[in-house]
């Protein structure tokens, strides 16, 4: 182990973790408002193609990032409309969102297969970015990586320190009480769902703009579901989700570098690691029934109808 290995390894961790950070922190806000959106995978993949399509057509990274967020949000709106206004089952609707998103992204991406994008520009501060070791690590990332860190900080602050964060949590813990003191349960939840969609879209945008700057069908490869598991793992706390995502990013390191160390394991077996790790983490977290129930928002997954 030397610096030549550690720095690239840490860079890989950041790349692998950033999409998970976006998706998991977005979902925490959604679930804190009492809505369970299982469609992260669908919103992510549509965000990925939305961002990539705009990136290739305009060449403008800012527009592309915006398009990723808006694509995720558009899909989230379908989910919000169905579950909040038509009171459909949240589990089934979330699954539908994922199935639709995968098909829809493949349709949109049909003409973009094989095209390449130069990737997101890295922030370059002359001097600082050239520092050995921490230079590229801390001062040489792209804007989405910084945004993902900022989102963890901002969402923590929003949920615990602001009036609207309190309202959102109230709606998630007891929607009837929140309704009776005059909060619009449906509107607060819709806002949360849209925010979650934008964040999943950003996670997807990171995949197709920075992680592997091209379009491949199904390129989210279950990351949306891993993000869902991270939310449980983090007990609905944004900063814990942030570190959880980096823990998972770390697992991909093993996957990428194990063969470099001369470990003779087939690549497919190594690729199973993130999924197996997710299962193990879920088991460890949910083993304690009371703790899991104390942490979960009390109204999670329940529909609300004002005059009902």
């Amino acid at each position: 182990m030397n610096v030549d290995f550690i720095i690239p390894a840490l860079l890989t961790i950041i790349t692998a973790s950033t999409p998970l950070v976006f998706a998991a922190i977005g979902e925490i806000v959604v679930e804190k408002s009492g809505v369970l959106n299982l469609g992260i995978e669908g919103m992510m993949i549509v965000g990925a193609i939305g961002a990539f399509a705009v990136a290739v057509t305009t060449g403008d990274p800012t527009l592309a990032i915006l398009a990723g967020a808006l694509s995720g949000m558009a899909l989230a709106f379908i989910f919000g409309f169905l579950t909040l206004f038509l009171l459909s089952n949240q589990v089934a609707t979330g699954l539908a969102l994922t199935l639709f998103g995968i098909g829809f992204s493949a349709l949109l991406g049909h003409n973009f297969v094989g095209q390449v994008f130069s990737g997101l520009p890295k922030l370059n501060i002359p001097g600082l970015s050239d520092l050995p070791g921490i230079g590229p690590l801390i001062f040489g990332q792209d804007v989405l990586v910084y945004l993902s860190v900022a989102s963890a900080v901002l969402v923590t602050w929003f949920l615990s320190r602001t009036r609207w964060g309190l309202a959102l949590r109230a709606v998630g813990e007891n929607h009837n009480a929140a309704h009776s003191i005059g909060f619009s349960v449906t509107m607060i939840r819709l806002a949360a769902v849209l925010f979650g969609g934008a964040m999943a879209g950003l996670g997807g945008a990171y995949l197709s703009l920075a992680h592997t700057p091209l379009w491949v069908e199904n390129m989210s490869a279950g990351r949306g579901w891993i993000a869902l598991a991270l939310v449980v793992f983090a007990s609905w706390k944004p900063w814990r989700a942030f570190f959880g995502a980096y823990l998972f990013g770390g697992i991909t390191i093993i996957q990428l570098h194990a063969q470099g160390f001369g470990v003779d394991v087939p690549s497919q077996i190594l690729s199973m690691l993130p999924y197996l790790a997710t299962i193990i983490v879920l088991v460890l977290i949910s083993r304690d029934d009371t703790r899991a129930r104390l942490n979960a928002p009390a109204c999670l997954g329940r529909s609300f109808h004002a005059s009902g």
Binding site: T93, A96, M272, I279, S286, S307
Partner: protein, 360 residues
Amino acid sequence: MLIRLEPRGEASRAMVYQSPLIAVVLTLLASMVMFWILGTNPLQAIHAFFIEPISTLDGLAELLVKATPLVLIGIGLSLGFQANIWNIGAEGQLTLGAIFGGVLALAFFDVDTPFLLPAMLIAGIIGGMAWAAIPAFLKTRYNTNEILTSLMLTYVGLLLLSYLIHGPLRDPDGFNFPESRLFHDAAVLPIIFEGTRLHIGWLIALFVAVLAWILIVKHIIGFQIRVIGMAPAAASFAGFKEKRLVWLTLLMSGGAAGLAGVIEVAGPIGQIVPVVSPGYGFTAIIVAFLGRLHPIGVVLAGLLMALTYLGGDSAQITMNLPNAVTGVFQGMLLFFLLASDVLIRYRIKIGSARTRESTA
């Protein structure tokens, strides 16, 4: 003027069955708009998508071939969904069924015995059950969410198949292609309609549908499944063993998916390949909902969903439309279905809410 939802006194029975029809009509209209946006003639596209594939006898046979795994998996999933057990890892269980059954076919490659096929089918069921037993164990023992574990295991299962087919199961004379040897005749499902690919698996699927109907309507287990889904508290007062039902529904749905997997490799495919299913395990989720979680409905919904696969291929060939249209169509159908389902418990009222409040 205001459009609002008013709760019905009692859930509408009629709407339960009308809602899928409303959803199909809305999906057709929406997909015509989609075809128009894609720059093709909507009517022509609808014709290529839904009429052309089944206008020949061969096409009808293909429809049943494609419907077989969808019906099998949909039946299994609907048992669990009724009890609010969300097994969404059927794709993985299907893959394990294909591996278990396929390995048996390859292990007894030179043995010509009528017992091989039944043994393969049983092996497939066991494979699917084994894969579904993991989420069942984790849910009953460690309270772990079965949605996430069953889905994660799908990715693991697909990677396992990929490893096996690039390694131990690869055809030694296959020029390094990631495919197994072609199964021996004794390991291939008999054709029931000469000149087509329609095999005996379709009859097996119908048989499983009948079994499921008996279970749900006539057996105490079916009653318990329905009660636990509709009124968990009542089920617990009645002393129903919830953990046992978790195990049962997951094993049954996993077994059905595994059976579908082995039927695919022993039927239309005839060998083990890297991609056994074009997402049947996920589409079957839509089949289960569209079929109202009822065996007869699932058979009908399975046929409709099979048509979307054929339609996607046909539209690709005749109209040069991307194959992905199938997935969009399936997703839209589920959206419209979930939206129409609101009418089961609510009715739409047009007008301001004031009148009702003043009388209340």
